[in-house]
């Protein structure tokens, strides 16, 4: 990787190894299928755009279809090796298969705002949040396993790495549930205020929520000990643990903020900063699944990658247009996808050539 952001003479990574396309409406999310074969972007206009791997460099071949009547609020890779699940403000949950066919899974009474899936060789689980409820379904999406009720609207859901537990954030804390329990008993994790997003440590050591007051709250899961991570100039919209659980990487400042989850941290430890753009807010982050690399998107539309070990930064896409509103690495680490509030969608091929 190169050492500085200011290499305007050399073409950006996007120009050398990527492609972009302009869509109508805001890009509200992106996801990459579990087999890393397809990238999907969804929009505020109800469209999905799918780029298959052979076409990552040719954006005119990306396929756009309308799948929701209204904004698409959530997208996740399906609990199978291919395909996607989308949720919208038309109260519907739909499956978009690899061949482009669309299936209705749910038509409810509330917006479907969050979807997450988990799977291994033996099977998978689909979870989605709608109002105060989190519903779990089997991998087919046809059978409801359970419906979990919460005290207020659910603002985020996450499976632990083994798929044994699911956690949901809401007012005054978070709730943890066992996926396979015969009788559902909640583990309440309480902290006063409005929690607006959630992440879980890959080894299950901690659960972290983002709060309305521009700070993070965490619970050590072994003993429920509270952690506070504050000092942000704006709300944290995006956060993720690195693959080994060493760092919690977040948006919400004009640098990439990384809280250490080792050596006794994050309690009493200052966060590290992995580079940024002075005066420009980081809006989205994503952690690489294989290497010690994070990607960050900014309010000016720029995207960069940074090494969590060394202070090295690689620009992916230079400033221009709306804020980055979607960002994801493929599971095999060979692609980075991003989208912006003004409808620009891009894929960068990171595979060795």
């Amino acid at each position: 990787m190169s050492g500085t952001v200011n290499e305007t003479m050399t073409p950006s990574l996007l120009e050398r190894r990527g492609a972009t396309r302009q869509l109508e409406g805001q890009i509200t999310g992106c996801a990459i299928a579990r087999d890393s074969g397809q990238v999907a972007f969804v929009t505020g206009e109800g469209d999905i755009m799918v780029a298959s791997r052979p076409d990552w460099g040719r954006s005119d071949a990306w396929d756009v279809t309308t799948v929701h009547d209204g904004a698409i609020l959530a997208i996740a890779p399906d609990a199978a090796s291919t395909g996607f699940l989308t949720g919208g403000d038309d109260n519907a949950l739909r499956r978009v298969a690899a061949d482009g066919s669309v299936t209705d899974l749910v038509k409810g009474r509330r917006w479907i705002e969050h979807i997450t899936t988990w799977c291994n060789d033996k099977g998978g689980v689909i979870a989605f949040a709608s109002g105060r409820q989190v519903e779990l379904r089997d991998a087919s999406g046809q059978t409801t396993l359970k419906v979990l009720e919460h005290p207020s609207t659910v603002s985020g859901i996450v499976f632990d790495a083994k798929g044994k537990r699911i956690a949901a954030s809401h007012y005054n804390g978070a709730s943890m549930w066992f996926v396979q329990a015969k009788v559902d008993t909640v583990r309440p994790l309480e902290w006063k205020g409005s929690h607006i997003g959630i992440a879980i440590h890959p080894a299950g050591e901690a659960l972290v929520t983002s709060m309305q007051e521009s700070e993070l709250h965490g619970w050590r899961l072994s003993d429920g000990h509270n952690m506070r991570m504050s000092g942000y100039p704006s709300k944290v919209q995006s956060m993720a643990f690195t693959r080994n659980g060493k760092w919690l990487v977040t948006s919400g400042a004009d640098t990439i903020v990384m809280w250490p989850f080792f050596g006794g941290g994050p309690m009493g430890k200052p966060p590290a900063e992995a580079g940024g753009i002075p005066g420009v807010m980081c809006t989205r982050i994503a952690c690489h699944p294989v290497h010690d690399i994070v990607a960050a998107g900014f309010a000016d539309g720029s995207v960069l990658m940074a090494d969590t070990g060394a202070q090295r930064i690689l620009p992916v896409c230079l400033a221009g247009g709306g804020a980055v509103s979607a960002l994801a690495f493929s599971p095999d680490g060979c692609a980075l996808a991003f989208g912006t509030e003004d409808g620009r969608a891009g894929v960068v091929d990171l595979s060795a050539r």
Binding site: G25, G44, A71, D89, K192, G193, S194, I196, Q212, K235
Partner: protein
């Protein structure tokens, strides 16, 4: 509107934001009737409507969102800072399909305190970045209002918070009673625009595009109502307005109002002002909801206009001499 200043960059930035109209009013006052009247009128504009689950009547619109009125308390040191978290979420999601509508109307339940809704527009950076609170419109049932005000502090708050008051069902009351009702409403909120209506039949120009910051005209008329303190007792919600003819010291004013709201914010429901800061040729518009305050320059004083600073408080237990002395102490030296 003729008296907004289109040319100033601040005004341009304000116009880029999606206007949000908050519709409050007691159960049976005619909120939903007014809402349907707005939505079916021929204005060529599209509105997204956020309604509460327990709405009295159906709402006739393409884009209707059910809200749960989920209120939470901010951990920001303000003892009375409650916020509608559900509204933050809903407005954020609606902004993802920004091209589909021209404005947003939020209807609250009859018993709702308007403070959390109004405070939401002060507190959340994303809401502030993309929308602006155009006006709080309160629908009042002329036939029942006097009794409702006696029985319900929420109804008093709804009138206190209003930028616009629609006095509905005026056909059920005679002119003498209407005069009494209007005087009672004015004793609570002297600066809101007050319109009479039957079955919600008000011109849309009385309800929409009110421009929350454009207070000048209302404030100019306020003092005439306000010097009459004959029938107000201490615990009632009243309006008080103040004027200072000399330019103000901006830092002094900020320090004074900040300390005042911190101390008395629980009693001060709303504060609004148009201010003349020394060394500044533009007007400064100030507004506050309980302890939350903000302000912005809104363009120059008009030719021939006296640059008088005006400030209005609507609240309980207001101490007129103390407020006057405080405001006057902000004069630039």
């Amino acid at each position: 509107m003729s008296d907004t200043v289109q040319a100033s960059p601040d005004a341009a930035a304000q116009n880029a934001l999606v206007p949000v109209t908050v519709l409050t009013g007691f159960l049976g006052a005619g909120k939903t009737t007014l809402l349907n009247h707005i939505l079916t009128a021929q204005h060529g504009r599209k509105y997204a409507v956020v309604v509460n689950e327990f709405g009295e009547l159906g709402v006739d619109n393409d884009l209707v969102v059910d809200a749960d009125e989920e209120v939470f308390e901010m951990n920001n040191g303000c003892i009375c800072c409650t916020v509608r978290g559900d509204l933050i979420r809903i407005l954020g999601n609606l902004m993802k399909r920004r091209a589909k509508f021209d404005g947003i109307i939020v209807e609250t339940t009859g018993l709702a305190d308007p403070a959390p809704v109004a405070q939401t527009f002060f507190v959340d950076e994303d809401v502030r970045g993309k929308t602006r609170l155009d006006a709080v419109v309160t629908v009042v049932d002329a036939y029942n209002v006097i009794q409702t005000l006696e029985e319900s502090p929420e109804a008093v708050n709804q009138i206190a918070f209003a930028d616009v008051i629609i006095l509905n069902k005026t056909d059920l009351v005679d002119e003498v009673a209407l005069a009494t009702i209007e005087s009672r409403i004015r004793s609570i909120n002297a600066v809101a625009r007050l319109h009479r209506a039957q079955r919600g039949d008000v011109p849309l120009s009385d309800v929409l595009d009110q421009g929350g910051f454009d207070l000048q005209r209302a404030l100019e008329h306020a003092p005439h109502f306000l010097e009459d303190t004959s029938h107000s007792h201490e615990a009632d919600v009243t309006s008080m307005s103040f004027e200072v003819e000399e330019p103000l010291d901006a830092a002094h004013f900020q320090a004074w109002i900040g300390a005042l709201l911190q101390e008395k914010g629980a009693d001060i429901l709303r504060a609004k002002g148009i201010l003349n800061y020394a060394g500044e040729d533009r007007r400064f518009a100030f507004q506050a909801v309980h302890m939350m305050a903000d302000g912005d320059f809104i363009g120059p004083w008009k030719a021939g206009e006296e640059p008088v600073s005006r400030l209005v408080f609507i609240g309980r237990n207001l101490n007129r001499p103390q407020l006057r002395r405080g405001f006057e102490s902000c004069r630039a030296k």
